[in-house]
Protein backbone atom coordinates (compact mmCIF):
# COMPACT_ATOMS: atom_id res chain seq x y z
CA UNK A 1 0.00 0.00 0.00
CA UNK A 2 1.24 3.47 -0.82
CA UNK A 3 1.44 5.85 2.07
CA UNK A 4 1.53 9.58 2.58
CA UNK A 5 3.66 11.14 5.29
CA UNK A 6 2.48 14.29 7.00
CA UNK A 7 4.11 16.16 9.83
CA UNK A 8 2.12 18.71 11.80
CA UNK A 9 4.53 21.59 12.21
CA UNK A 10 2.71 22.94 15.25
CA UNK A 11 2.44 19.75 17.29
CA UNK A 12 5.25 17.71 15.75
CA UNK A 13 2.87 14.80 15.24
CA UNK A 14 3.83 12.59 12.29
CA UNK A 15 1.06 10.78 10.45
CA UNK A 16 1.64 7.95 8.01
CA UNK A 17 -1.53 6.84 6.29
CA UNK A 18 -2.61 4.93 3.23
CA UNK A 19 -3.68 7.02 0.26
CA UNK A 20 -7.41 7.39 -0.14
CA UNK A 21 -9.18 6.04 -3.23
CA UNK A 22 -9.56 9.61 -4.43
CA UNK A 23 -5.86 10.30 -4.01
CA UNK A 24 -4.97 7.11 -5.86
CA UNK A 25 -7.27 8.06 -8.74
CA UNK A 26 -5.77 11.54 -8.87
CA UNK A 27 -2.30 10.05 -8.83
CA UNK A 28 -3.10 7.82 -11.78
CA UNK A 29 -4.58 10.75 -13.70
CA UNK A 30 -1.52 12.86 -12.96
CA UNK A 31 0.78 10.07 -14.11
CA UNK A 32 -1.10 9.84 -17.40
CA UNK A 33 -0.90 13.63 -17.82
CA UNK A 34 2.81 13.48 -17.11
CA UNK A 35 3.35 10.79 -19.74
CA UNK A 36 1.42 12.80 -22.31
CA UNK A 37 3.31 15.97 -21.49
CA UNK A 38 6.65 14.20 -21.69
CA UNK A 39 5.73 12.77 -25.09
CA UNK A 40 4.77 16.26 -26.31
CA UNK A 41 8.04 17.72 -25.09
CA UNK A 42 10.06 14.96 -26.70
CA UNK A 43 8.21 15.41 -29.99
CA UNK A 44 8.80 19.18 -29.88
CA UNK A 45 12.50 18.69 -29.13
CA UNK A 46 12.84 16.22 -32.00
CA UNK A 47 11.03 18.56 -34.40
CA UNK A 48 13.38 21.40 -33.46
CA UNK A 49 16.43 19.16 -33.89
CA UNK A 50 15.16 18.08 -37.31
CA UNK A 51 14.59 21.68 -38.33
CA UNK A 52 18.08 22.68 -37.26
CA UNK A 53 19.61 19.75 -39.14
CA UNK A 54 17.70 20.71 -42.25
CA UNK A 55 18.80 24.34 -41.94
CA UNK A 56 22.41 23.29 -41.44
CA UNK A 57 22.33 21.03 -44.50
CA UNK A 58 20.82 23.77 -46.66
CA UNK A 59 23.44 26.26 -45.50
CA UNK A 60 26.21 23.88 -46.46
CA UNK A 61 24.58 23.16 -49.80
CA UNK A 62 23.89 26.85 -50.43
CA UNK A 63 20.19 26.38 -50.91
CA UNK A 64 17.53 28.78 -49.52
CA UNK A 65 16.23 28.22 -46.04
CA UNK A 66 12.59 28.44 -45.08
CA UNK A 67 11.54 31.13 -42.62
CA UNK A 68 11.09 28.46 -39.96
CA UNK A 69 14.57 27.02 -40.56
CA UNK A 70 16.17 30.46 -40.50
CA UNK A 71 14.48 31.17 -37.18
CA UNK A 72 16.35 28.28 -35.61
CA UNK A 73 19.69 29.86 -36.50
CA UNK A 74 19.11 33.54 -35.81
CA UNK A 75 18.86 34.67 -32.20
Amino acid sequence: MTIAIEVNCTTGEVTERDLTAEEIAQREADAAAYAARKAEEEAAAQALADLKASARAKLVAGTPLTEEEAATLVI
Partner: protein, 181 residues
Protein backbone atom coordinates in the same frame (compact mmCIF):
# COMPACT_ATOMS: atom_id res chain seq x y z
CA UNK B 1 21.76 33.99 10.69
CA UNK B 2 22.00 31.21 13.25
CA UNK B 3 19.64 32.84 15.74
CA UNK B 4 16.90 33.32 13.18
CA UNK B 5 17.23 30.09 11.24
CA UNK B 6 15.17 27.40 12.95
CA UNK B 7 14.43 23.81 12.02
CA UNK B 8 10.65 23.48 12.17
CA UNK B 9 10.24 19.83 11.21
CA UNK B 10 11.96 17.14 9.20
CA UNK B 11 10.59 14.12 7.33
CA UNK B 12 12.52 10.98 6.41
CA UNK B 13 10.90 8.27 4.32
CA UNK B 14 10.85 4.80 5.80
CA UNK B 15 11.43 1.40 4.24
CA UNK B 16 8.03 1.24 2.52
CA UNK B 17 8.57 4.41 0.53
CA UNK B 18 6.06 7.25 0.37
CA UNK B 19 3.90 8.89 -2.25
CA UNK B 20 4.40 12.34 -0.82
CA UNK B 21 5.75 14.37 2.08
CA UNK B 22 3.62 17.09 3.61
CA UNK B 23 4.39 19.80 6.13
CA UNK B 24 1.07 20.92 7.61
CA UNK B 25 -0.03 23.51 10.18
CA UNK B 26 3.03 25.62 9.44
CA UNK B 27 3.17 28.41 12.02
CA UNK B 28 3.03 31.97 10.73
CA UNK B 29 5.71 33.20 13.11
CA UNK B 30 8.55 33.34 10.62
CA UNK B 31 9.40 35.69 7.77
CA UNK B 32 10.54 33.15 5.18
CA UNK B 33 10.57 29.38 4.80
CA UNK B 34 13.23 27.15 3.39
CA UNK B 35 13.10 23.43 2.58
CA UNK B 36 16.29 21.46 2.19
CA UNK B 37 15.77 18.05 0.64
CA UNK B 38 17.53 14.99 -0.68
CA UNK B 39 15.37 12.56 -2.60
CA UNK B 40 15.32 9.52 -4.81
CA UNK B 41 12.33 7.84 -6.38
CA UNK B 42 11.36 4.22 -6.94
CA UNK B 43 10.82 4.67 -10.66
CA UNK B 44 12.73 5.49 -13.82
CA UNK B 45 11.59 9.10 -14.12
CA UNK B 46 12.96 10.77 -17.24
CA UNK B 47 15.36 7.92 -18.00
CA UNK B 48 19.06 7.37 -17.51
CA UNK B 49 20.56 10.51 -19.00
CA UNK B 50 20.07 12.33 -16.80
CA UNK B 51 18.62 10.01 -14.14
CA UNK B 52 16.19 12.68 -13.06
CA UNK B 53 12.53 12.92 -12.22
CA UNK B 54 10.72 16.21 -11.92
CA UNK B 55 9.30 17.37 -8.67
CA UNK B 56 5.93 18.82 -7.89
CA UNK B 57 4.92 21.16 -5.09
CA UNK B 58 1.47 22.01 -3.80
CA UNK B 59 0.60 24.74 -1.33
CA UNK B 60 -2.37 24.69 1.03
CA UNK B 61 -3.82 21.47 -0.35
CA UNK B 62 -5.07 22.75 -3.68
CA UNK B 63 -6.04 25.87 -5.56
CA UNK B 64 -4.21 28.71 -7.20
CA UNK B 65 -2.22 28.84 -10.40
CA UNK B 66 1.44 28.03 -10.69
CA UNK B 67 3.65 29.81 -13.21
CA UNK B 68 7.00 28.14 -13.65
CA UNK B 69 10.20 29.31 -15.35
CA UNK B 70 13.09 26.90 -15.22
CA UNK B 71 16.58 26.54 -16.61
CA UNK B 72 18.49 23.31 -16.58
CA UNK B 73 21.53 21.85 -18.21
CA UNK B 74 23.82 18.91 -18.61
CA UNK B 75 27.62 19.19 -18.45
CA UNK B 76 29.21 20.75 -21.53
CA UNK B 77 25.85 21.73 -22.96
CA UNK B 78 24.13 25.06 -23.18
CA UNK B 79 21.42 25.51 -20.57
CA UNK B 80 17.86 24.88 -21.67
CA UNK B 81 15.00 27.05 -20.59
CA UNK B 82 11.44 25.94 -20.27
CA UNK B 83 8.28 27.17 -18.75
CA UNK B 84 5.35 25.34 -17.35
CA UNK B 85 2.46 26.19 -15.19
CA UNK B 86 -1.23 26.15 -14.75
CA UNK B 87 -2.87 23.97 -12.21
CA UNK B 88 -3.36 20.30 -11.58
CA UNK B 89 -0.79 18.08 -13.17
CA UNK B 90 1.19 20.81 -14.87
CA UNK B 91 3.14 22.06 -11.90
CA UNK B 92 6.24 20.16 -12.87
CA UNK B 93 9.66 21.64 -12.45
CA UNK B 94 13.11 20.25 -12.90
CA UNK B 95 14.49 22.09 -9.93
CA UNK B 96 13.70 20.14 -6.81
CA UNK B 97 13.99 16.96 -8.78
CA UNK B 98 14.68 13.49 -7.50
CA UNK B 99 17.28 11.04 -8.71
CA UNK B 100 15.59 8.24 -10.59
CA UNK B 101 15.90 4.52 -10.23
CA UNK B 102 18.33 4.24 -13.15
CA UNK B 103 21.06 5.99 -11.20
CA UNK B 104 23.45 3.91 -9.17
CA UNK B 105 22.22 2.83 -5.77
CA UNK B 106 22.57 5.24 -2.87
CA UNK B 107 22.62 8.38 -5.02
CA UNK B 108 20.14 11.06 -4.03
CA UNK B 109 19.42 14.54 -5.34
CA UNK B 110 20.00 17.70 -3.34
CA UNK B 111 17.64 20.65 -3.50
CA UNK B 112 16.67 23.86 -1.77
CA UNK B 113 13.30 25.58 -1.92
CA UNK B 114 13.15 29.16 -0.65
CA UNK B 115 9.79 30.79 0.04
CA UNK B 116 10.09 34.46 1.02
CA UNK B 117 7.19 36.25 2.71
CA UNK B 118 5.06 33.12 2.94
CA UNK B 119 2.40 34.86 5.05
CA UNK B 120 1.95 37.66 2.53
CA UNK B 121 -1.52 38.45 1.23
CA UNK B 122 -0.05 38.71 -2.25
CA UNK B 123 0.96 35.99 -4.71
CA UNK B 124 4.07 34.10 -3.63
CA UNK B 125 7.37 33.73 -5.44
CA UNK B 126 9.37 30.58 -4.81
CA UNK B 127 12.99 29.93 -5.71
CA UNK B 128 14.32 26.40 -6.20
CA UNK B 129 17.65 24.95 -7.19
CA UNK B 130 18.96 21.44 -7.23
CA UNK B 131 21.66 19.07 -8.37
CA UNK B 132 21.12 15.54 -9.57
CA UNK B 133 23.94 13.24 -10.56
CA UNK B 134 25.01 9.67 -11.08
CA UNK B 135 28.56 9.31 -9.83
CA UNK B 136 29.51 12.49 -11.67
CA UNK B 137 27.92 11.24 -14.89
CA UNK B 138 24.87 13.01 -16.27
CA UNK B 139 25.03 15.67 -13.61
CA UNK B 140 22.39 18.34 -13.90
CA UNK B 141 22.04 21.74 -12.30
CA UNK B 142 18.55 23.14 -12.34
CA UNK B 143 17.17 26.45 -11.21
CA UNK B 144 13.57 27.42 -11.14
CA UNK B 145 11.28 30.31 -10.24
CA UNK B 146 7.65 29.71 -9.42
CA UNK B 147 4.91 32.22 -8.90
CA UNK B 148 1.89 30.88 -7.03
CA UNK B 149 -1.26 32.96 -7.21
CA UNK B 150 -2.48 32.07 -3.72
CA UNK B 151 -3.03 35.13 -1.53
CA UNK B 152 -3.43 33.45 1.84
CA UNK B 153 -0.54 32.49 4.09
CA UNK B 154 1.12 29.20 3.23
CA UNK B 155 0.16 26.73 5.94
CA UNK B 156 0.97 23.45 4.21
CA UNK B 157 3.46 22.28 1.61
CA UNK B 158 3.26 18.95 -0.17
CA UNK B 159 6.15 17.52 -2.14
CA UNK B 160 5.78 14.63 -4.55
CA UNK B 161 7.28 13.22 -7.70
CA UNK B 162 5.65 14.61 -10.85
CA UNK B 163 5.46 11.15 -12.40
CA UNK B 164 3.90 9.94 -9.17
CA UNK B 165 6.60 7.45 -8.32
CA UNK B 166 7.16 6.85 -4.64
CA UNK B 167 9.98 8.49 -2.76
CA UNK B 168 12.55 5.88 -1.83
CA UNK B 169 13.64 5.07 1.69
CA UNK B 170 15.94 7.69 3.25
CA UNK B 171 14.57 10.48 1.09
CA UNK B 172 14.33 13.45 3.38
CA UNK B 173 13.05 17.01 3.53
CA UNK B 174 13.56 19.53 6.30
CA UNK B 175 11.55 22.71 6.74
CA UNK B 176 13.27 25.73 8.26
CA UNK B 177 11.79 29.00 9.41
CA UNK B 178 13.78 32.17 8.93
CA UNK B 179 13.08 35.39 10.80
CA UNK B 180 14.23 38.80 9.71
CA UNK B 181 15.05 39.82 13.23
Amino acid sequence: MANTYTLIQSITVGSGGAANMTFSSIPSTYTDLKIVGSTRIVGNGEGSNPPISRGEITFNGSGGTYSVCMMYGLPNQSPTTNSAGGSGGSRSFYAGSSVGNLAAASIFSNFEIYIPSYTSSLAKVILINDVTENFEVATTEDICAISWSGTSAITSIKLNDYGNSNYAQYSTASLYGIKNS
